[in-house]
């Protein structure tokens, strides 16, 4: 497995970094404070081709390979986890349409998603259905040649502004996925504010009240909404979040290296104090390890290897923990300054905590990773290894 970046991937990373350092990083604290992203930024991101960037040229996309896609997630995550969240949820819907949508759904939605003419959100979780999506209570009933949806979706990232929702609902008591436009009668949203982290992600509760949608709104076959459509979306979501976490940890490291160079205590720069160097060295090692896990998952994903599912999950688990540890240490290193809003490290710490919860909490990941160990053992025994 070759983990070296190609020259083209390095050039792309440089371009991502330039855009992020110019358009996102200087404003990220304001986005966090104001709890919103300016529409002009979303337009700029779309113009760069960063929405649905993995989609092929036939849809207007940039055909980014999985590693380059990861580099984009890392660079944006380094500056602002809320912007990275926009790309994540939008792309989760895009990949669902690409993988399981009908020809007509792909032709209708993918060009709009790439151009940013439609912003997509993933409307799956509910007040009583978080990790346990089998408990989804939203219903879809066949009526008038289409479907009628009823239910409430909670914690929907970019639900305040999305034009298109991927909704998981029970149809004949089997979970199915539907594409629902915001402007359908019966769709309403209520903003959610005051979050701990990713505060500019413009979350909303999405209410579906006798919402009528046409028959061609279902995506994937009835009953495969969770096992195929949502599972595919979450696979990309975990991959994007994992790389975004590498970005958070990298941002912590960069902040700490600068701060410990400049700040003096007891007559010498902070970087000369051994216990500070301990925290810096842990950050370096965690970042490199997380990036390697993400790269490995990306290569397996590019190859279509079934192991990519679990390797991505492992990468997300490790990277989110690395981000949280790095951010906590970054605040510690910055001391009182780290607790104020003149430095971004307190934002990194609040955002990192969210990463340990979304796209499957880390406790869910632990259960699945342990399962994986026993599955591997059973498979080896079966193969006579």
């Amino acid at each position: 497995m070759n983990l070296q970046l190609t020259n083209q991937q390095k050039q792309e990373r440089t371009r991502f970094r330039e855009f992020v350092d110019q358009e996102i990083a200087p404003h990220a604290c304001r986005f966090d404070r104001e709890e919103k992203l300016p529409i002009e930024l979303i337009v700029k991101i779309a113009r760069q081709g960063y929405l649905g960037s993995f989609l092929g040229e036939e849809w207007g996309g940039r055909s980014l390979d999985t590693i380059t896609y990861g580099l984009l997630s890392e660079e944006i995550g380094r500056a602002c986890s809320s912007v990275r969240s926009l790309l994540t949820v939008h792309d989760m819907v895009a990949i669902s349409v690409l993988r399981w949508g009908s020809h007509e759904q792909r032709a209708k939605w993918l060009p709009l998603l790439v151009q940013g003419k439609a912003i997509a959100a993933f409307a799956v979780t509910e007040p009583e259905a978080g990790c346990d999506l089998g408990c989804v209570k939203t219903t879809a009933v066949r009526a008038g040649g289409g479907y009628v949806l009823n239910g409430v979706k909670s914690w929907i990232t970019f639900g305040q502004v999305a034009d298109l929702f991927l909704v998981l609902a029970g149809l004949d008591e089997k979970l199915s996925a539907f594409l629902v436009e915001r402007n359908r009668p019966g769709v309403s949203t209520v903003p959610i504010s005051g979050l701990l982290g990713v505060r500019a992600s413009m979350l909303a509760e999405v209410r579906l009240n006798d919402c009528e949608i046409p028959a061609d709104s279902i995506i994937g076959q009835p009953g495969f909404g969770l096992a195929s459509v949502v599972a595919t979306a979450l696979g990309l979501g975990r991959y994007s979040v994992a790389w975004g976490c590498v970005g958070i940890a990298q941002a912590c490291l960069e902040s700490c290296v600068k701060y410990t160079n400049d700040r003096k205590q007891f007559g010498k720069p902070l970087k000369e104090h051994q216990l500070i160097r301990h925290m810096i060295s842990d950050m370096v090692v965690d970042i490199k390890a997380a990036r390697l896990l993400c790269s490995r998952a990306g290569i397996l994903k590019q190859l279509g290897d079934p192991c990519e599912v679990m390797e991505t999950l492992i990468a997300k688990y490790f990277s989110s923990r690395a981000a949280m540890k790095s951010a906590s240490d970054a605040v510690q290193i910055h001391g009182a300054n780290g607790c104020g809003d003149r430095y971004p490290v307190q934002r990194y710490m609040r955002d990192a905590k969210i990463m340990e919860i979304i796209e499957g909490s880390n406790q869910m990941q632990q259960l699945l990773i342990a399962d994986y160990a026993y599955q591997e053992e059973a498979r080896n025994l079966s193969d006579g290894d």
């Binding site: 495969f224 195929s228 599972a231 279509g304 599912v309 699945l368 026993y374 025994l381």
Partner: protein, 78 residues
């Protein structure tokens, strides 16, 4: 290794057993996690060089070793 043996090898990891018969309904056995279907589809696609499409999503294509082998055979002929 024939098609059924390849499928059995993959499934045995999930079910931690060497005793799967060709007619056992793997979805009825329980003990599978939410990532199972995705990994099963990826495994079938990679192992047999086919693409599982939207219209192929039918539980009767994937629930037993016999049915998966028959599905793979049908797709391979197209």
């Amino acid at each position: 290794m024939d098609d059924k043996a390849k499928i059995r090898s993959f499934l045995s990891g999930f079910f931690r057993t060497n005793n799967l018969t060709d007619k056992d309904d793997v979805f009825a056995l329980g003990l599978i996690n939410s990532l199972f279907a995705m990994q099963l589809v990826l495994n079938i696609e990679r192992e047999f060089n086919i693409t599982v499409e939207d219209q192929d999503l039918d539980i009767n294509n994937f629930n037993t070793i016999d049915n998966i082998a028959a599905f793979v055979s049908r797709k391979s002929r197209k």
